[in-house]
Point group: C2
Chain length 329, copies 2
Amino acid sequence: MPTIKDVAKLAGVSTATVSRAMMNPEKVSEKTRLKVELAVAESGFSPNVIARNLRRSESKTIVVIVPDIANMFFASIVRGIQQVALNNGYKVLLGDSIHTVEQAKAYMDLVRSKQADGIISLTAELPMEIRQGTEIPMVMACEYFPGFPIPTVRIDNRGSAKRAVDYLLDIGHSRIGCITGPMENPICVDRKAGYQDGLQQVNIESDEAAFEDGDFSFQSGYSAFMRLHQQYAMTALFCFNDMMALGAMKAATQLGIKVPQDLSIVGFDDLLFAEYTNPELTTIRQPQEDIGKTAANTLMKILQGGKANQDTIVPTQLLVRASCTSPKK
Amino acid sequence: MPTIKDVAKLAGVSTATVSRAMMNPEKVSEKTRLKVELAVAESGFSPNVIARNLRRSESKTIVVIVPDIANMFFASIVRGIQQVALNNGYKVLLGDSIHTVEQAKAYMDLVRSKQADGIISLTAELPMEIRQGTEIPMVMACEYFPGFPIPTVRIDNRGSAKRAVDYLLDIGHSRIGCITGPMENPICVDRKAGYQDGLQQVNIESDEAAFEDGDFSFQSGYSAFMRLHQQYAMTALFCFNDMMALGAMKAATQLGIKVPQDLSIVGFDDLLFAEYTNPELTTIRQPQEDIGKTAANTLMKILQGGKANQDTIVPTQLLVRASCTSPKK
DNA sequence: ATAATTGATGTAATCCGTTACATTTTGTGC
DNA sequence: GCACAAAATGTAACGGATTACATCAATTAT
């Protein structure tokens, strides 16, 4: 592999001039620029970016921490991040933390060791240290910690959940089951509050028997419904994500409960498959790619030394599809 | 950020000794090792990996090129890769090529510019140059080019497709539609050949009207079935992936065609949701995580200077679920 | 006891661009 | 044609680790 020295020799100039010709073309004369370009082409020179990064002490790389790469919810967000990052000359290192704090910490250390410039975390399962602030340029997306000194990009979880429940109430339901996510997760607390807001508004008392915990997986939705079905008579079900909604739908079908005739189901996220379930799934749409782009833009701003919004809330949308109908009289 | 010099001063030794104490502890005396460790802890030193990489001229990073990160099929493969990479001290840079050769090339350039040591490509949409061999350490997974000098990890597409068709024939079907992928893709050619092998074995003539192309997306499965339904009377359908199978299932349902009573459907891949469709989808299981691990192990071997198997074929499995039944008499 | 070997440590070159500073060239104004 | 400013280019330090080689001390063999 040729180095900048080879190019310099070939072009008959100094390495400094070669560097300038490539980085700040306006700083060299037309003539030498052409000489250099020719020499670059002839030698097939490609700069060693590691050396550049060392000198500049930046890596032009950001790390995205996802708690579970196999969870489809994160895919489109990552794509959004990637687009913005690429446009700004950054690469994206994807880190699957597998829901462990240690892994997340390992990825955060990449910034300390200068291998990455900043982090976008799609999980709140992070080391405690950062609770009291961190020098690491960092943005959280989707998840958050209340009172956390890190910019976030997320949705109005409480309002969105209320929106879903309002819809079910509107079409006549009053006994609405709820499959939550892990309740130590703040966004789940918010969504549960939103669910309760909805009921409260029409003076229905919230019943603890209406809740079952899931962990956002298909499987957990399935088993949560199996439990819920035994403890709570309902005509509608609100799930904290689409995967659990699909799991619940399978469980209901197995139990001979017809969706939507006997049970209306609302999900959350609007994953790609939501339009292809049978029946099609009514859900709260999160603009995943937008969330990714916004988070990436926020991080870019921070990396350029600017101050970023502390919190950006992106809008959601209720998508009414075939999985809901009015309850039978 | 403290550097190795600071640590050296603090420990009262040379930088060389500090470096040795950390990299080859057996090369320094017990006593100095402890001094150094203490100094490292006290100063909070974390080595600048960029500097190390420059000196060593390696980056301990591999790039994974996926054609579409939002396609769930790749998620588990990436996870498998990531596990092996991490165990070997490598980071994973995820590159979404968005089905474009230019993007793929940009990611390949990371190796030339020393930002990455090797590549695992999950797509065959790569620059032509590599057809005649490449110096870049590289492995392809899932996809491949026939007669391509790059190690691959993949399944027996032809045999697996035949297996699916054999099953449908076994349970009594003889008119079997087929939704393919893009036919410029060699794995699609193989699967089509497998389909035809199956029919030929029982002396059924292959009918071009039985085929419709898709592009592996939900949407394309839906529209392909809408077209296919008009041109070919069938009792069973074989789709080249699960997403298209689900799209086709939706189309059939909308047309009043009952699955599996009126139409049996077999997919391909066994994505996570395949068990949760309604009815549950019969499919060919690809061991995605294994494919990822094997590909990563192969690349590791290459990076260590070893010779890797040219091709590794991993086994698939037919998973019989509820989306198939014998045709009505 | 002395030479030879082994082990521990230090010195300084090296990886390859970038960039502050010095120097030379070119250009402008009078 | 001269003085001076501006533009172009060169020289060399620098980033922060690793490592070949040199040096010195301790151990072993003879």
